[in-house]
């Protein structure tokens, strides 16, 4: 069976490295499915789930924004963050969700609404991811 070499890297560590049979990730233009021998590609990624199959065993990471580069059957995923299910602190995500909600609902003028909304989306995605939906 043909395989693809996948590396998931964040600024502070290499989250995963190994041969996989397929990768699905959240591109900024829509979901991307990558199979072995994909044509060289550079794409931007948005926050979302990354799934790959490692010889029949599917694994999932929740990735931040970043880039995907494919060349010579090697896929490099360069993202701000990559969390395994065990890495996510559910309490922390819930607290972040609360914080983001109250920030959006508060009427103060000096609030960066886009940032608060992004935080809210991330917190919701984290919780969904942990609960396995």
């Amino acid at each position: 069976m043909s395989v693809l070499h996948l590396e998931i890297m964040t600024p502070d560590r290499v989250a995963f490295e190994g041969d996989v049979s397929s990768v699905y990730l959240e591109g900024s233009e829509g979901r991307l499915g990558i199979l072995p021998a994909h044509t060289p590609l550079i794409a931007t990624l948005s926050f979302g789930k990354l799934r790959f199959d490692q010889t029949g065993k599917p694994r999932e990471f929740l990735c931040g924004e970043g880039f995907l580069e494919i060349s010579e059957n090697r896929a490099s995923v360069l993202v701000d963050s990559a969390e395994d299910k065990d890495d996510i602190d559910q309490d922390r995500a819930e607290r972040a969700l609360e914080r983001a909600r109250s920030r959006i609902n508060s009427k103060e003028a000096d609030i960066d609404l886009t940032r608060a909304e992004a935080a809210l989306r991330r917190a919701m995605a984290r919780l969904k991811f942990v609960k396995g939906e």
């Binding site: 890297m9 600024p11 233009e29 060289p40 590609l41 550079i42 794409a43 580069e69 060349s71 490099s76």
Partner: protein, 285 residues
């Protein structure tokens, strides 16, 4: 003749100092391990990111965007020092190099952004224009610290009037050697045309398109460079402190030996004197 009590006191005080320097050496050693591990773990990401950046830059017929344009104006030097002292010539060498560089460019053509307390204190006394850097001292370098610095730099650069941003820091070469390094941060010019060729020179598809990718990639490259400089500097700082404290501990040991010798000599002299006194007293009877 030296007083016995005085020598004993001296020995005690040097021993105390030695204990402190020894403890500091151990702390520096463990921090050094942590920070150099951190720097090594961060390497694959930055290498890959620069590679992707070069690839994109390579295929752009012309570079547009504010981060790639060369403008007329001043030079901004970012000086990464440490917050604490007691690390040998770590800060003084760095600040000396910074001072020379700034003087060479001419006081009216430069601005300086100090990072770390030592640099901040130093540049307060110099005639150069200071751009405020981090408000808080750095405890542990993480991505968010680098983000803060990168944002400050980006804001300053986009405000205009700067032709180049250069960072000066101590690079961690090995435990004994710190290398003072200048690195160009902005504008982002793909400095290594041949690196992309090493990457296979393949034509990549770009999604959504090369320009959009570059717009996102640029700030990330800057951030990663700042992050690396901060990490290298911290690792180098701990290495310098470890070496300095090791030397201090050894010196204290030598001093204790010498003082102990003096103490014994003085003690023997006192005993001999007393014996002579007793003997001559007995002879006089």
């Amino acid at each position: 003749m030296p007083n016995l009590l005085d020598i004993r006191r001296r020995i005690r005080s040097v021993k105390n100092t030695q204990q402190i320097t020894k403890a500091m050496k151990m702390v520096a050693a463990s921090r050094l391990r942590r920070t150099s591990d951190q720097a090594i773990r961060a390497r694959p990401y930055s290498e890959r990111l620069f590679c992707v950046h070069d690839t994109i830059v390579e295929r752009m017929p012309e570079l547009s965007g504010p981060l790639y344009r060369r403008q007329e104006g001043k030079w901004l030097l970012v000086v990464v020092s440490s917050d604490k002292g007691l690390c040998g010539a770590f800060n003084s060498n760095l600040l000396k190099a910074a001072n020379n560089w700034l003087k060479h460019k001419g006081t009216e053509h430069v601005e300086v952004m100090p990072i770390g307390r030592k640099a901040t204190a130093f540049f307060r006394k110099t005639p150069f224009t200071v751009v405020p850097g981090l408000k808080e001292p750095i405890r542990d370098v993480d991505v968010s610290t680098a983000e803060t610095v990168a944002k400050l730099l980006l804001d300053r650069y986009l405000a205009g009037g700067l032709q180049e941003v250069v960072v000066l820091y101590n690079k961690f070469k090995n435990v004994l050697v710190q290398e003072i390094t200048f690195a160009e941060l902005l504008p982002l010019i793909g400095d290594s045309r041949d690196k992309a060729a090493v990457n296979g020179g393949v034509e990549h598809l770009a999604e959504p398109n090369a320009q959009a990718i570059l717009d996102e990639l640029g700030p990330k490259v800057l951030l990663t460079q700042v992050y690396q400089a901060l990490m290298e500097s911290t690792a180098a700082e701990h290495a310098a402190r470890m070496t300095a404290m090791e030397a201090a501990t050894n010196n204290a040991g030598e001093m204790i030996e010498k003082l102990t010798l003096d103490l014994n000599k003085a003690r023997q002299a006192a005993i001999t004197k007393e014996l002579i006194e007793i003997v001559s007293g007995a002879a006089a009877l």
